[in-house]
Amino acid sequence: MMMTVNSLSIPAHPANRSFSRFVANGDWVIPVFLVVWFALVVVPLVVLFAFSFFDTKSYMTIYEPSLNTWMSLLESGRLGVTLRSLRIALTVTLIDLVIAFPFALWLAKGRTSKSTRAIVIALLTIPFFLDISSRTIIWRAILGENGAINSLLKSLGLIDAPLNWMLYTEWSVHFGMVIASFPTMVLPIYLAISIIDDALIEASGDLGASPAQTLFRVIVPLALPGVIAGVLLTLGFALAAWIEPSMLGGGFVNLLSNSVESAFTALRYPVVAALSTFVIVLLVALLFILLLLTRRFSDVLSAFRVLKN
């Protein structure tokens, strides 16, 4: 950055000409960037993994390799939290997938106009840039005992007592997470479907395939890279969800993030590392399972082609 500014102020000086060509040519950018990126992304993740094999004694990290921290994840209390997180994350991902795949298909191939598509994509992207805590806390005023829905139902005479299963239950946590992660599921699937050549779909119909055959033997295999990306992104979000369970679960729904938070405040960093690594390991394992299951359907590398396009 600094070099760019320097060369801007003295562009034509002969001694600087080769230097400015060097800057504008930009071949050095990628190696320099990769070094910084490794230090900021890859090294911390490796360190995180390594830390999960350390132990804590009286608020101090013991730098000796051990499996104690990992074993403690299987202890009674934690195991329940882990299984509950997994169950909720899988449910949320499944619900999102069931709603998102047809929606993405409709959006990409349902004869929607270009501006409809642009608006829907914009509407799906905007939530990434909004503050999640204020968006989530407002559900308390809608779902709560004296909230909007209960007030409405009461004034319509449909209920006598407020429904209190709507807030601070697993239901509200699912609800909040499904909404928050919906765009992460739709967008990759949409990208994958929208690059399918319309001619393929038409050809399939012309050659006598039933609509169901066209859907499951042409569209779904071609959309798989997007589906895998969407499932991984949503599952990663749901496994590590922090704001939704704490705000809509009201302390009654403990997930992995609550364990991480309590370990973090108790300075038990190896536990933080093990739980965070656990989430990543689960995602990688799932990626491999999905790739193995789908290998016969589609070329895995086309996932990258989707990203490139």
Binding site: R21, I138, P211, K308
Partner: protein, 282 residues
């Protein structure tokens, strides 16, 4: 689920738009499923803004309206410091993301193996925020012994914002016509002139988009900030701790969030206008 009458006849009938669906209702079911979820994403924003004017923001009825929460917000100055911190971090992240994404994005399509570098660049998108925050926290704090605060938040936000910025820049650079650069140098322009007068103006919508997205992603980031904040407090962290700990503070948070929405949504509208109207010309 639904039994269809005589599906064989459908492909010939005019108006069967979808070769992948028997039942006419599937496309509209697919559409409305998504529309309901979009409604559930945006209704809270509307309700938040409405309730910020309400006498009893946590009740179900918005009426009667009042401005007292906004008055309380302006009497209470505690949110100014986190707001300033978020603003300066977000401005820096936006600027750095835009510059670095431009630098990498314009060279990446020309290199031998762009795929591998791209996967590495997009890796943070697939690492959950909690894990990335914890990883950076342990690395910076326990291994390097860095004092956490402004700088560490900046690093964490950059890692989060950069993949988005790079993707936006790549949309334009992968379609960039390199004959323009050759023509420019054939006509005697220095390489710097070529960059500044030919390449930069063509890439400008993407660079501005990358900066805007970087700014907004950083401004609203919370999961990584929770780990990396040290003694610093950003706006989302302030909102979160206030909303989580004190019920009496919630109305003020509603007012504050509404003001932020009023600033953020037009910015986003502008960014999307740039993306669609300016970048999608061809």
């Amino acid at each position: 689920m639904m039994q269809t009458p005589a599906p064989e006849q459908q492909p010939d009938r005019p108006g069967t738009a979808h070769p992948w669906s028997y039942w006419q209702g599937w496309p509209s079911l697919a559409k409305w499923g998504g529309v309901v979820l979009l409604f559930l994403i945006y209704f809270p924003l509307f309700w938040l803004a409405l309730m910020s004017f309400s006498e009893h923001p946590l009740s179900g009825i918005p009426l009667p309206f009042t401005l007292k929460h906004y008055a309380a917000l302006f009497d209470d100055t505690r949110w100014l410091k986190p707001f300033g911190a978020s603003l300066s971090i977000a401005l820096l992240v936006g600027a750095i993301s835009a510059v670095v994404a431009t630098g990498v994005g314009r060279v990446l399509p020309k290199t031998g193996s762009p795929g591998r570098v791209l996967v590495l660049c997009l890796l943070p998108l697939f690492v959950p925020g909690m894990s990335m925050g914890a990883a950076l926290f342990i690395f910076l704090r326990s291994v390097l012994g860095v004092k956490l605060g402004f700088g560490s938040i900046l690093a964490g936000h950059f890692v989060w914002a950069f993949p988005f910025a790079l993707l936006i820049v790549l949309v334009l650079t992968t379609r960039f016509d390199h004959r323009l650069v050759e023509a420019s140098s054939d006509l005697g322009a220095s390489s710097w002139q070529t960059f500044w007068r030919i390449e930069f103006p063509l890439l400008r919508p993407a660079i501005i988009g990358a900066g805007l997205f970087g700014f907004l992603l950083s401004f609203n980031e919370i999961l990584r900030t929770i780990f990396l904040r040290g003694t610093e407090t950003t706006m989302p962290v302030y909102n979160w701790t206030m909303a989580a700990s004190q019920q009496s503070q919630v109305p003020i948070i509603f007012a504050l969030a509404t003001i932020l929405l009023a600033v953020t949504l037009p910015l986003l509208g502008g960014a999307f206008w740039l993306l669609y109207a300016r970048m999608d010309k061809d």
